[in-house]
């Protein structure tokens, strides 16, 4: 074939170079056409010239390609279209979008709240600069039952040894008392505040942020450092530096520094002042007299800062020889428990406490649990998304068919659907942030935290971004795979039948959703039952109208009788007594008890509490036998009141008048002889979940003196009326001490605080979980009803009753919920029995809990389904058949 003549190639190339790509083809065509016609008329040479001239004349603004590029060289436009289509889909079906976004937002809110909680727990104590180098010196023992015991209360000589011979093993070290409540007074202005007596090195170890003064401020014996809040309460806007305060009406101390309060989520959040170890020794002469070389008396804390680059284990190995035992304990320590010296790092203080009160969930387990629950609630919302997307797949079958026909590859479709789920999840996240802000105050209240939204924290946003990403993936992945798998031919023909198998994953997910919800509900109910069970436990004394007051200073000494008379003269006080510790605690325990026919192997100790006469009358003991300590009966000073638990251990048939003796552990020669004068119903003084321990009460004992006052308000007079009069009487007798008191019923209620917090949190989560699940169910059933509109219409025309239609539409879903309950019940039973094992005094898991929960879960699901089912069943068939 003859080759057509070609126009000059440089002109062609020039044109192709400058011409706008959208125009190049047809203008070139025109040029060629002209050229070919010209060749016929004027010959090739002139045609070539004309072609070149034409090309040059085409070099003008409208035709030259723009400098910045004419086309987006990325796939931005495609993503834009994904979001556009996604948005249109959302807007077209508002109801489903609402369910999806609303449900996801609630799920994410729970996830965010739980995340904040977990973060708060994990960042406990991290405000200390030396967080990873601070430790308690502790005695670590292996208990008989295999558990590890950690004691952080140490002996005085150990402190001396560590600060002397072993000092070089640490970067720094300080001894400290346990938390001490003291009256801090600036002239007339006085407050009770918690603080510590420490060595001068403590402010550096605990990295105090000084607002005034320096960290070296505790080098003088009579100095004190105040937290900002206490300084402000005491001095207002005045400068507190170098002012003199009176501590407990006894010692004068000078303010040498003010520091920023310890943050809420730190070990020392209640500490308001630090004062010196020397002052502690000066206030407690007995230490120098008796404790300096006593290896038995544990009463001090030792904090150390280990050198950088060393591990706690390394340092602990080095200091092990410092621990010595009293000859009395040596054998016991070696044989039985193998007590060893160790270091208990700060990072474990909060999450792995040395001992767990009865029933308390280990904080680390709690952190995991809260995290898991947050994840589950979010998963429930993701399931809604998955179910609604796949159920409504038929709607989009045509779109998918066309996209595939035009040439979409499956991976492109998958990314399209993922982009859609990203759109939904992102809007849900924004909504969830709003909800979190609204819910946070309530959440803080329930969880007794003070968490703030960390808006400025980059990690928070990083976590939020990954939450969105992960949720989009989890929620969008299965629908994306499922939708993109359609055969385009079938999809376009419109006979895409999902078949029975297609709905099985959806059903399984609904079952999963409801199992989780039902388990949460059962858990919540059991927690509440347990709390209620413990609350209903007979307490053995009367909590109402009972005021308890610690006698914090020596100002109380010798004033008891005067105070008692003053109080009784007010007319609002029924009776007054003294006791060792409050009614809600057992402060002291001792062994060495002997009685008639004692089993010689019994070596456990009894709670030993000293009380004043008429204590029983004041607190309302319920006597099973015998009577209270009577002032008028002189022999009662050798009397003993025991509780039921003690009686059970003693096994005495007729306890009243029986002789009991108590040998003091430190001095075998000191023996006290008592006569039992009364047996009382077990008063619940410690954990309401544990069986009552044996406790004995006496008027005069070998240890301790009554340190609390109990005031029983006249039952006919209200507390608000009585309190001012009591305070006035109190001030008349002891003017220098703030009137500090506690209500017994409030103190008792605190024992349930933790469990109630868990219960309240669980309730909120359970309600949200069942709500999200029902939301999904509502979406599914309304979709079913929508696709079956015609069928329902025909059935009605043929005579089906509303009831039958309702049954038809609800049956499947209720069956799913029932299956879910059957799955959930054994699981919940297992988990909750496990939880209840923590309590010695526990409710039995009655089958009614499960039956009622299942009934209510089915009931709620049925209500949800019925709402839509009845709506469709009562529709006028004329309308539903006419529609289209």
């Amino acid at each position: 074939m003859k080759q057509r003549p070609q126009p000059p190639s440089f002109a062609q190339r020039l044109f192709r170079w400058f011409c706008h790509p959208d125009l190049v083809d047809h203008i070139e065509g025109d040029l060629f056409q002209e050229y070919n016609q010209r060749i016929g008329k004027v010959g090739k040479r002139k045609a070539d010239l004309a072609f070149t001239v034409d090309v040059i004349k085409l070099f003008r603004p409208g035709i030259i390609k723009p400098v910045e590029g004419y086309r987006h060289l990325n796939t931005y436009g495609m993503y834009k279209s994904y979001f556009k289509i996604g948005w249109r889909n959302l807007v077209r079906s508002k109801g489903y979008s609402l369910i999806n976004i609303g449900g996801l937002a609630i799920g994410m809110m729970v996830a965010i709240l739980n995340g904040l909680w977990v973060w708060d727990e994990l960042s406990y104590n991290q405000s200390f600069d030396n967080y990873d180098r601070i430790a308690h010196v502790a005695e670590i023992s292996n208990n008989d039952d295999g558990s590890r015991g950690i004691g952080t209360t140490m002996t005085y000589p150990l402190g001396t040894a560590l600060m002397g011979d072993y000092r070089h093993e640490f970067d720094n070290i300080t001894r400290s008392t346990s938390f001490r409540d003291r009256i801090v007074a600036n002239g007339e202005v006085a407050f009770t505040a918690t603080g510590l007596y420490v060595d001068p090195s403590a402010p550096a170890i605990f990295s105090l942020h000084m607002l005034a003064g320096t960290r070296e401020g505790l080098s003088q014996p009579n100095s004190i450092m105040l937290s900002r809040s206490l300084a402000e309460s005491l001095f207002g806007s005045e400068d507190p530096l170098n002012r003199v305060l009176r501590l407990n009406n006894k010692s004068d101390v000078m303010v040498t520094g003010v520091y920023t309060d310890f943050p809420q989520n730190s070990e020392f959040n209640t500490i308001r002042y630090l004062t010196t170890w020397d002052l502690y020794l000066a206030e407690n002469k007995w230490i120098e007299q008796r404790a300096l070389t006593d290896w038995r008396n544990h009463f001090i804390k030792i904090y150390v800062l280990i050198p950088e680059g060393k591990t706690f284990a390394e340092v602990a190995d080095k200091i092990k020889p410092a621990l010595q035992f009293d000859p009395l304990d040596e054998e016991l320590a070696r044989k039985k428990r193998e007590r060893k010296l160790g270091l208990y790092p700060m990072s474990d203080w909060h999450l792995q406490p040395p001992w767990e009160p009865d029933g308390q969930v280990n904080p680390l387990v709690m952190v995991k649990l809260v995290g898991i629950i947050g994840g589950f609630v979010l998963a429930l919302a993701c399931i809604n998304f998955i179910n609604l997307s796949t159920a409504r797949a038929e709607r989009r079958a045509k779109e998918i068919g066309i996209r595939k026909t035009i040439g979409s590859v499956r991976s492109q479709l998958v990314s399209q659907f993922l982009a859609e789920s990203f759109l939904v999840v992102s809007s849900a996240f924004i909504l969830a942030l709003g909800l979190t802000v609204l819910a946070l105050p309530g959440f803080n209240l329930i969880a007794s935290k003070s968490i703030l939204m960390p808006w400025n924290n980059l990690w928070f946003w990083a976590a939020g971004a990954s939450l969105v990403a992960i949720t989009s993936l989890v929620a969008g992945f299965y629908p994306a795979i499922y939708l993109s798998s359609f055969n385009p031919v079938k999809a376009l023909k419109g006979n895409l039948r999902m078949g029975r198998l297609a709905s099985i994953p959806r059903k399984a997910l609904v079952v999963f959703q409801f199992s989780i919800s039902v388990m949460l509900i059962i858990g919540t109910v059991v927690v509440y039952k347990q709390i209620q069970f413990a609350k209903n436990r007979p307490v053995g004394y009367d909590r109402n109208g009972l005021i308890m007051m610690p006698k914090r200073t020596e100002a109380f000494n010798g004033k008891y009788q005067v105070l008692r008379n003053e109080l009784k003269n007010t007319g609002v006080v029924f009776e007054v007594s003294e006791s060792m510790g409050p009614m809600t605690d057992v402060f002291s325990g001792n062994g060495g008890w002997d009685w008639k026919d004692r089993d010689p192997s019994y070596d456990k100790s009894f709670g030993t509490l000293a009380v004043s006469h008429l204590h029983g009358k004041t607190v309302g003991w319920q006597f099973l036998q015998g009577r209270d300590f009577d002032i008028d009966n002189p022999t009662d000073s050798n009397g003993l009141v025991i509780n039921e638990a003690t009686l059970k251990i003693m096994g005495l048939k007729d306890p009243i008048g029986e002789e009991v003796s108590w040998t003091w552990w430190a001095d075998k020669g000191r023996v006290m002889h008592y006569k039992i004068i009364g047996v009382i119903k077990d008063p619940v003084m410690e954990s309401p979940y544990s069986p009552t321990k044996p406790v004995v009460f006496y008027v005069k004992g070998l240890n301790g003196t009554p340190s609390w006052m109990n005031i029983r308000i006249n039952p006919n007079i209200s507390a608000s009326e009585a309190l001012p009069k009591i305070e006035a009487a109190f001030k008349r007798v002891i003017s220098a001490v703030p009137f500090d008191y506690k209500f017994a019923d409030e103190e008792y209620a605190k024992k349930f605080g933790r469990e109630e917090r868990v219960g309240n949190l669980a309730t909120v989560f359970a309600i949200l979980a069942i709500f999200i699940s029902c939301l999904g169910l509502l979406g599914l059933v309304s979709f079913m009803a929508e696709t079956r509109t015609k069928e329902i219409g025909i059935r009605k025309v043929l005579g089906a009753s509303t009831l039958r239609l309702w049954r038809m539409l609800s049956k499947d879903f209720v069956a799913l919920v029932l299956i879910a309950c059957l799955v959930a019940a054994p699981g919940a039973h297992y988990l909750m029995s496990e939880w209840l094992q923590r309590f010695e005094y526990r409710v039995t898991l009655s089958p009614w809990v499960f039956i009622l929960t299942i009934l209510s879960a089915v009931g709620i699901a049925l209500l949800t389904v019925s709402y839509q089912a009845i709506k469709s069943a009562t529709m006028n068939p004329v309308n539903s058949l006419k529609s289209e």
Partner: protein, 112 residues
Amino acid sequence: MKKYQLGEFEEIVILTIAILQKEAYGASIKHEIETRLSRKVSMGAMHTALIRLERKGYVKSFSGESTEERMGRPRRYFSITGAGKKAIEASRDARIELWSAIPKIVMDLKVV
């Protein structure tokens, strides 16, 4: 009459498109103008005019078939849109309006 903007050459091009009906593409439009009005039309001027017209919405274009003569390059056909029709009508009316306003005598003089 600022409503319809139509340059002189643009008007010629769009009128030619109207004449050619379904046969209006670059080369044919150029050829038609050249033969009817016996004036030279450069490829650049014409395509610029076409692009302007299309941007103004007076004409629309679509790709068509190609021939051997064009060495396989497709034709781009142009057709008048509703707006384009209104624009040329407005332009015509404006001219008639002006023509009718010219005094007869002037016309006579000019003719003579």
